[in-house]
């Protein structure tokens, strides 16, 4: 009898069916690997398993008995612990207090810190890290140390199943070895592990079985982790049902004009680089890479939102002031950031005001606004981009994700920007509206704007970009015209790092 059986799990969010009838079973003492591209539904599935999301339909049984995981506490009581990618520890509090957070060792409300510290020390020793002081503040530990604490917290419960979401992402190679030793110890005790990672070589080392998720469905199950060839895993991850309509690319051939934006030896310690980059007018350059490969950091550094530790950015041959957004915007660079709501939009304001906010001096004399012109010009651009409904006086929060993104693009069109940096431009945009955004982006490029596109969705990068740079761990491992690449090849590159 499997330890856990999930069948027909379905979960929808407004506009998206994140999980569509997913089945998963986990045996005692096995390492069950979950594979899938970004957006395939892995995170939603583990949140359902952790009790953080309630499924719309489907059954879960635990040790043969049907259960409802109505809350994280309910999941924890059964013995399901989750170690999230972004560790959920309280930094200003000691290791021991973090380990027993929410289930403190106490008598009638009075905590017994000495006992908590002693038991924490035992757990840390079991995890191979007796050197971590249970009294130390979590904020003073390394990323690897914090992860050990997170694991100690999971083990402080009577745990039968541990979910690990990309546990190796923040670890050095020797720390990864220790992690694998811990996983082996746990499984020897009969604890099951659901292991999520993008690194196929890890899955080969510790995995037992692999399930592949794709577009919210199970694309493959019961694959043997050690023997299934890479190309088969990749094929299962990529063979997709949804076809996107991409605008036609211009025929390349004639040498393009001189580059507008040039980055020379640009680097940020620990994040990316050093790397060189050239953007030419009319060209869409795609950046392919995993989350954490330094994509967003590179974009933000080009834009001046982060200060490079080495190298420089030039526009029309003139160097920008490092770490100055104002200087970048003045030179004609625009950014559509990854988190539209928190990083781009003024949610209380109308579309018009969101569009005009970067170009206010254009509508003002001595600080005095010409609101009629402001409205007319903003409207001209939102109309050009096909804002729907065509009413830029409405608050921006009443628009759909795709139309909000149009408002952000209109902001930079109005500003007359010549370099557009797009970070996940179609995140939270439904499939129909995507094609429309793709057409808009291509039209902008045709009008002479340089576009640098970051997307987790490979078809999007390949379908939209003229040239693709593959980023792995902060370095460009491959650069090629997009027609010379396909999804498999790029996935091989971002995962293995060496041309196959």
């Amino acid at each position: 009898m499997p330890l856990l059986t999930m069948s027909g799990i379905t979960k929808s969010f407004p506009g998206v069916r994140a999980l569509d009838g997913v089945d998963l079973d986990v045996e005692e003492g096995e390492v069950h690997c979950l594979l899938g591209q970004n957006g395939a539904g892995k995170s939603t599935l583990i949140k359902v398993l952790a009790g953080a999301h309630q499924p719309d339909a489907g059954d879960i049984s635990w040790q043969g008995r049907p259960v409802r995981l109505s809350s994280p506490v309910a999941a924890m009581r059964l013995g399901i612990a989750t170690i999230y990618q972004e560790l959920d520890l309280v930094e200003h509090v000691s290791v021991a207090e973090n380990v027993f957070l929410g289930h403190e060792i106490a008598t009638r409300g009075i905590v017994r810190p000495r006992e908590a510290r002693a038991r924490t020390a035992q757990l840390l020793a079991r995890l191979g890290h007796p050197e971590i002081d249970p009294g130390a503040l979590v904020g003073s530990l390394s990323a690897a140390g914090a992860q050990i604490v997170s694991m100690a917290r999971a083990l402080s419960h009577d745990v039968r199943l541990i979910i690990m979401d990309e546990p190796s992402a923040a670890l050095d190679p020797d720390e990864v070895d220790n992690l694998f030793r811990i996983v082996a110890d746990l499984t020897a005790d009969g604890v099951a592990v659901v292991y999520i990672s993008h690194r196929l070589e890890e899955i080969r080392r510790i995995g037992d079985r692999v399930s592949v998720l794709k577009d919210g469905r199970v694309a493959a199950r019961d694959l043997p982790a050690r023997t299934t060839p890479t190309h088969e895993l990749v094929a299962r991850m990529t063979g997709r049902d949804v076809q996107y309509a991409f605008p036609e690319k211009p025929v390349t051939g004639a040498p393009r004009a001189d580059p507008v934006l040039v980055a020379e030896g640009l680097a940020r310690a620990g994040e990316f680089g050093p790397l060189d980059l050239e953007l030419r007018p009319g060209e869409i350059v795609g950046l392919a890479g995993l989350v954490g490969s330094g994509r967003s950091e590179l974009l933000e550094t080009l834009y001046g939102a982060r200060r490079p530790t080495a190298g420089r950015v030039l526009v029309d041959g003139q160097p920008l002031r490092p770490g100055s957004i104002v200087s970048a915007v003045r030179a004609g660079i625009g950014l559509a950031p990854e988190e539209r709501k928190s990083q781009a939009l003024l949610m209380l304001e109308s579309v018009t005001r969101n569009v005009s906010v970067s170009s206010l001096p254009r509508f003002s004399r001595g600080g005095w606004l010409d609101r009629v012109r402001e409205r007319a010009e903003a409207r001209r651009h939102t109309r050009e981009l096909g804002l729907s409904p065509d009413d830029p006086d409405r608050p921006v929060r009443t628009f759909s994700g795709g139309n909000q993104q149009k408002a952000v693009l209109a902001r930079w069109l109005l500003r007359g920007c010549r370099v557009l940096l797009l970070d996940e431009p179609t995140r939270g945009v439904d499939v129909g509206a995507r094609a429309e955004l793709y057409a808009v982006i291509r039209r902008l490029a045709d009008s002479g704007v340089c576009v640098l596109l970051v997307s987790s969705e490979l078809p999007e990068v390949l379908g939209l970009a003229d040239r693709v740079l593959v980023l792995r761990e902060g370095r460009v491992v491959h650069a090629a015209p997009s027609h010379e690449l396909d999804e498999h090849r790029v996935l091989d590159l971002v995962m293995e790092g060496s041309p196959a």
């Binding site: 834009y303 939102a305 957004i325 104002v326 970048a328 915007v329 003045r330 950014l335 950031p337 928190s342 990083q343 781009a344 939009l345 003024l346 949610m347 209380l348 304001e349 109308s350 005001r353 005009s356 906010v357 970067s358 206010l360 001096p361 003002s364 600080g367 005095w368 606004l369 609101r371 009629v372 409205r375 006086d393 409405r394 608050p395 902001r411 500003r415």
Partner: protein
């Protein structure tokens, strides 16, 4: 959005000019303003019934407006700071320091112009320190202005030695007497009116106002949109300091003196008035009109209680209740959006 009262009330109330294009959804008089006007009318009715001869007398109405003017000017500045995502706890202390500095014997030698200049410069100077600490420090506004509150009060006490500094400059004192009234309105009230109009224009018709709203509503998005967020924050505290300097001079004219106890708890009154006027404490939304109405409501309550010889403790309770009620109305409305 469509309140049942909106239809009946909107045409009767004179609204600030809506330039050019029809501003359908941005009527300056929203439900919250109308409800504050309703509260004011209710208070007037109470006043007219309890003290029919005294409350509606021109002298008393002038008194209410005069009392509202000093705190009103401070509130306009504070409103900008809060809309811009900050808070200024030091306004009362700055008013005290400016009023003391401008009434020292040495300053009074320079006459009216010197005293006015001194008052304004002290205000702007304190605002500059606040702004530099907050924008470039960077310090949390609450802490930086709390520190300014303590030190400005202390400096005011040190300069005045705790004594009331009587103004001997005739031209200053003349501004407070009846002869200086314009069409029956004291100059202090006129200054308040001018500050309100300028504040309204600044917030609604200039790039400065637009950026204030943007920075308060979403500082990260503003930064990524290319707005110089730090400079904007600095300017906001400068503006608040300037308002304090002006208010301090108004207080000097009104009382004929400068005192280190001036402006006591102005910070709380100003913040409360802005909040009941609909300014979001988290920033990004607020109106000058709302703040002015908030000030008028509080001042009228104070006046009513004084006329009826009621204790100030009951008055404080009433103020507290109004703040809670106003915020609940605000919450109810935003959840309907």
């Amino acid at each position: 959005m469509n309140s049942p009262t909106g239809v009946a009330d909107t045409p009767k109330v004179p609204s600030p000019p809506a330039n050019g294009a029809p501003a359908k959804r941005r009527t300056p008089l929203d439900v919250r303003h109308l409800s504050l006007i309703g509260v004011l009318l209710a208070l007037a009715v109470v006043g007219a019934f309890t003290k029919p001869d005294e409350f509606l007398a021109a002298e008393n109405l002038r008194l209410i407006l005069t009392q509202a003017s000093v705190i009103g000017v401070v509130t306009v500045g504070v409103t900008f700071v809060i809309i811009g995502g900050g808070i200024d706890l030091s306004v009362g202390a700055i008013v005290a320091l400016a009023s003391v500095w401008a009434t020292t014997v040495a300053t009074q030698d320079f006459g009216l112009g010197g005293m006015l200049l001194c008052s304004v410069l002290v205000g702007v100077g304190c605002g500059l320190v606040n702004g530099l600490l907050i924008a470039y420090g960077p310090m949390v506004p609450f802490i930086a202005t709390l520190a300014m509150l303590a030190s400005a009060r202390g400096l005011a006490l040190q300069i005045s030695d705790g004594k009331t500094q009587v103004v001997t400059v005739e031209s200053v004192l003349d501004l407070g007497v009846k002869d200086a009234y314009v069409l029956g309105i004291p100059p202090i009230v006129l200054v308040f009116a001018v500050v309100c109009v300028i504040g309204w224009l600044l917030l609604n018709r200039t790039t400065f106002g637009r950026r204030t709203v943007a920075v308060g509503g979403n500082p990260e998005a503003s930064r990524l949109a290319g707005i110089a967020v730090k400079r904007q924050r600095l300017l906001l505290y400068l503006l608040s300091g300037l308002c304090c300097g002006i208010a301090a001079f108004m207080l000097i004219v009104l009382t004929g003196s400068g005192q280190n106890t001036n402006g006591n708890l102005y910070e709380l009154d100003a913040i409360a008035a802005a909040i009941i006027g609909g300014t979001l404490l988290s920033g990004g939304r607020g109106t000058i009109l709302g703040s002015v109405l908030g000030v008028l409501v509080f001042t009228t309550i104070t006046n009513l209680f004084a006329l009826n010889n009621l204790q100030t403790d009951i008055q404080q309770i009433a103020k507290g209740a109004i703040i809670v009620a106003a915020v609940l109305v605000q919450k109810g409305r935003s959840s309907h959006d």
